[in-house]
């Protein structure tokens, strides 16, 4: 089960994985590596079997078809799985054996704990970097814990997605773990025995400090191109050498380099030569050009790992690993992204929306209106792309915080961290609070209520009128799938009347909960770590807030597209040839300039008989807001549905965007097709204590208006209809007619 690296042979490969195997071979042929042991897959298998985790993981991953899961849902499932690993202690037998062995092997020396999954590092399936490694782990209990974390990384979202991409069966996945003494090298790097773009060359990359900074991209390396035959240096591109990753009390940290060190390249020519020789030795050993991680401790060169280079011919199947790796962004990377979003993108979006607001469309002639529709559609498309490329990745800020929070606090609810993220002055919350104020004003003033119910009554209470106007000015533009019309004022009045008809919803959490949780979290850190933890929380909050606000601003731009499109539709309908109400923007532009254009009739939906035949009785999603709620289904697919919503109904929709969160307090439960933990519906539902299930495939088409629906937000299931069986009356006698 646990083998010293020097005792591992090729026949152990299925139990120790590729990484351990190649380390053992290097060691056995005289290449210096840090001493260590491998904890075989048998230990992992025993752990997941005896604890029941094995089936728990598979149930988590089989709540819906894997290919139907968005990556946010996979991430969500991965987070829950990781928490299961964190909260499942090792069985005493395994723990005792590991502890004894690890302390006799390493004493109090710090170690590195790395994954070595069978199948990893094979020439065709490179898992490099997909699983976790932990550097500078010191006492034996911490080692055991990090072994569990390495195991858990077998089930990270990126590892799962990558396996799916390669068509590997996740059910048979298993993992070995290598524990090695930490060699705190002063200079480290990666050497490529062959340049993938020029097979006459090799490449050496080197940094000061540990090579974690190089591998995860936070520290830029010096780079040498060398002749493969002789190892002679062809060229050297120096780096800025500003920072280095160094061991801290536990783990590693990024530190600025002293001037004296940064003035010098990490390697002199003789050392570069020595590093390249190492790559050639490894190549001779493994019969293929290698990519070798190495480090120098004083004058001694250590190989840290070696794996085959994925060459160009192997990469024809397009190696998407870099994309999966990019699913985890470093803290530094996210900080830069935040600056760009806060300082450039959001102000740009506001400016674009403001400029669009100034441009009237009713005064344009048909031809100009057609080009304006196209122009606005293009602007929207551009921002939607930006949203995909830059705003969505920034969600990783919340994820990074979530991971650190869960590691530190070990909460029984893996989503607890989300509660610390919300409530920080988001545009949608301001809007919802104003609506609550309007509703409260109605509750306190029956005369006002009577006036509002009678649309002809023009003189309203002045304070209310002022508040309503402020609301319309600030948020009147908000849209849901482009809802925007002169009826908005009436819609808002009807909505606040509906809100006023029930008691204000109490938020689930005590008011100081976020403060208390924040303090508890920060109290687990000391000194500069505390500052980092606070920064990370700040980043997480910004990430969550911006994802909310960007939706609002994108919604504003969208509403201007709709203003122009609606103007066009009205004009076309007024010509009297056909009703243009459902015409796509592209068709509207065309019909405006071509009066003979007739859209093709939309196909009638399939036979109603079929629909009656199949009924969903119980649908499985993800538990997103604890609680159980029963009510009548209201399927919201268009803006008008939104304003029809009645207090106490179950909201069923594709996804709640921030522009529709205002009806959440009215709902007795929420069912969303779209899944993921950071979706707005889920967080708002948690905040108000409303049962919520997300990620229910086809929910809006399988659930129909008026059906009784029970939302079980604990288990993540939705029950449709009443618990009765359809039945005929009892009949005696058995002969067929």
């Amino acid at each position: 089960m646990i083998r010293r690296l020097e005792h591992i042979s090729e026949s152990d490969k299925n139990q120790v994985g590729g990484k351990a195997c190649s380390l053992a071979r290097m060691l056995q042929t005289g290449i210096r590596i840090p001493n260590g042991v491998c904890i075989g897959t048998e230990v992992y298998d025993e752990f997941v079997s005896s604890s029941g985790l094995r089936e728990g993981i598979l149930m988590e991953l089989n709540r819906k078809k894997f290919e139907e899961m968005r990556w946010e849902e996979i991430w969500d499932a991965a987070l829950r799985i990781r928490n299961k690993f964190l909260n499942t202690p090792m069985p005493a037998g395994i723990a005792d054996e590991l502890k004894g062995l690890l302390s006799s092997q390493f004493g109090h020396n710090p170690v590195v704990i790395r994954s070595s999954a069978p199948g990893e590092d094979a020439a065709t399936t490179s898992f490099a970097g997909l699983h976790e490694s932990y550097v500078n782990i010191q006492d034996v209990d911490a080692m055991l814990e990090h072994i569990r974390l390495v195991w858990a990384s077998l089930w990270s979202d990126r590892a799962l997605l990558y396996r799916r991409e390669l068509g590997l069966n996740v059910e048979t996945s298993t993992m070995a773990v290598v524990v090695q003494e930490l060699v705190s090298g002063e200079r480290s790097g990666v050497v490529f025995g062959m340049n993938p773009n020029d097979d006459s060359q090799g490449i050496i990359e080197a940094v000061h400090g540990l090579n974690q900074g190089l591998v995860d991209g936070t520290v830029e390396p010096d780079r040498w191109f060398v002749r493969r035959e002789t190892g002679e240096v062809i060229s050297h591109s120096p780096a800025a050498r500003e920072n280095a990753v160094l061991p801290s009390t536990t783990g590693v940290e990024l530190k600025p380099l002293p001037q004296a060190t940064s003035a010098n390249p990490p390697l002199n020519p003789a050392e570069a030569q020595k590093v390249f020789t190492l790559a050639r030795k490894a190549e001779a050993l493994f019969h293929a050009p290698q990519d070798v991680e190495w480090t120098f401790r004083s004058k001694t060169l250590y190989a840290l790992q070696s794996r085959p280079i994925t060459t160009r011919s192997d990469a024809t199947a397009e190696d998407k690993r870099p994309w999966y790796l990019s699913l985890t962004r470093s803290y530094e990377n996210l900080k830069r992204l935040r600056e760009r979003i806060e300082d450039e993108l959001i102000p740009d979006m506001i400016e674009v929306a403001d400029r669009l607001a100034e441009q009237r469309v009713d005064t344009l002639d048909d031809r100009h209106l057609a080009s304006e529709i196209k122009r606005r559609t293009r602007i929207l498309a551009k921002w939607e792309q930006t949203y995909e490329d830059e705003f969505i990745p920034f969600a990783h800020g919340a994820r990074l915080f979530g991971q650190v929070y869960n590691d530190t606090m070990r909460p029984s609810d893996p989503h607890e961290f989300a509660d610390l993220l919300g409530g920080t002055n988001m545009a949608s919350i301001q809007r919802n609070e104003m609506l609550a104020q309007l509703a409260e004003a109605i509750r306190r003033n029956p005369v006002l209520e009577r006036q509002l119910r009678n649309p002809d009554d023009a003189t309203l209470d002045a304070d209310f009128e002022a508040l309503l106007n402020t609301f319309m000015d600030t948020f009147g533009e908000f849209t849901f799938s482009g809802a925007h019309s002169g009826k908005n004022r009436r819609h808002i009045i009807d909505l606040v009347l509906e809100m006023a008809s029930r008691e204000p919803v109490k938020k689930r959490f005590e008011p100081d909960r976020v403060k208390r949780l924040t303090e508890e979290f920060l109290s687990r850190f000391t000194d500069e770590k505390k500052e980092f933890a606070a920064d990370l929380l700040d980043l997480g909050r910004a990430s969550y807030r911006l994802r909310d606000d960007d939706n609002i601003y994108l919604g504003r731009i969208e509403s201007h597209v709709h203003t122009a499109v609606r103007e066009g539709r009205d004009r076309i309908t007024a010509r009297g040839h056909f009703n243009a109400a459902r015409l796509e923007p592209r068709e509207v532009a065309r019909a405006l300039t071509d009066s003979s254009y007739r859209p093709r009739e939309a196909k009638a939906s399939d036979a109603a008989g079929r629909q009656r035949k199949l009924r969903a009785r119980q649908l499985l999603g993800q538990p997103a807001g604890p609680g159980i709620g029963t009510g009548t289904a209201r399927v919201v697919t268009s803006p008008s549905d939104l304003f029809d919503f009645k207090a106490g109904e179950i909201l069923v929709c594709d996804s709640i965007d921030p522009n529709m969160t205002f009806i959440v307090p009215l709902a007795a439960g929420i069912v969303e097709r779209r899944g993921g933990m950071l979706i707005h519906g889920a967080i708002v539902a948690r905040e108000y204590g409303i049962p919520c299930v997300t990620g229910v495939p086809d929910a809006p088409s399988l659930i129909h208006n008026g059906q009784q629906v029970t939302v079980d937000g604990f288990l993540g299931i939705v029950v449709i209809g009443k618990p009765t069986l359809s039945r005929e009356s009892p009949t005696g006698g058995l002969s067929e007619a």
Binding site: Q611, K613, L619, P730
Partner: protein, 152 residues
Amino acid sequence: LTLRKVSEQRKILKDLFADQKLAVLATHSDGQPYANLMAFVASADLKSLFFATTRSTRKFANMASDNRVAMLMDNRSNSEKDFHQAVTVTATGTAREIATRDKKRVQKLYAAKHPHLKDFVSSPNCALMRMKVETYYIVTRFQNVMELHIGQ
């Protein structure tokens, strides 16, 4: 979408019925539920489930006084994996003995799936039964339940 969903569910049923030889039949006697393991075969249109019993059994007597029945078919492997992998189908409907004109055809269908029961199903005291299915309740992924109404 609905068409796709319906054919998805029908495929689940067909695959299950092709793989599984045995089903649990539920009947009752004056409100006392009673369950038996039965060899079964399904019709291609999924409207009928066929099974056989001798006329002296309790289940036969139960059905004679109330022909409403349920059947449970599943593909469990009796391991942990069942919780994420197994498919379970409950059928509700009514059972009747097959009329003489259909008997040969159904016997052939039954014997094709259960060749070792050929003598049993053609013996004089054996009743070949047709359960006319009203509804299938199809359970996948531990808790996902779809109802397919097959009667009408």
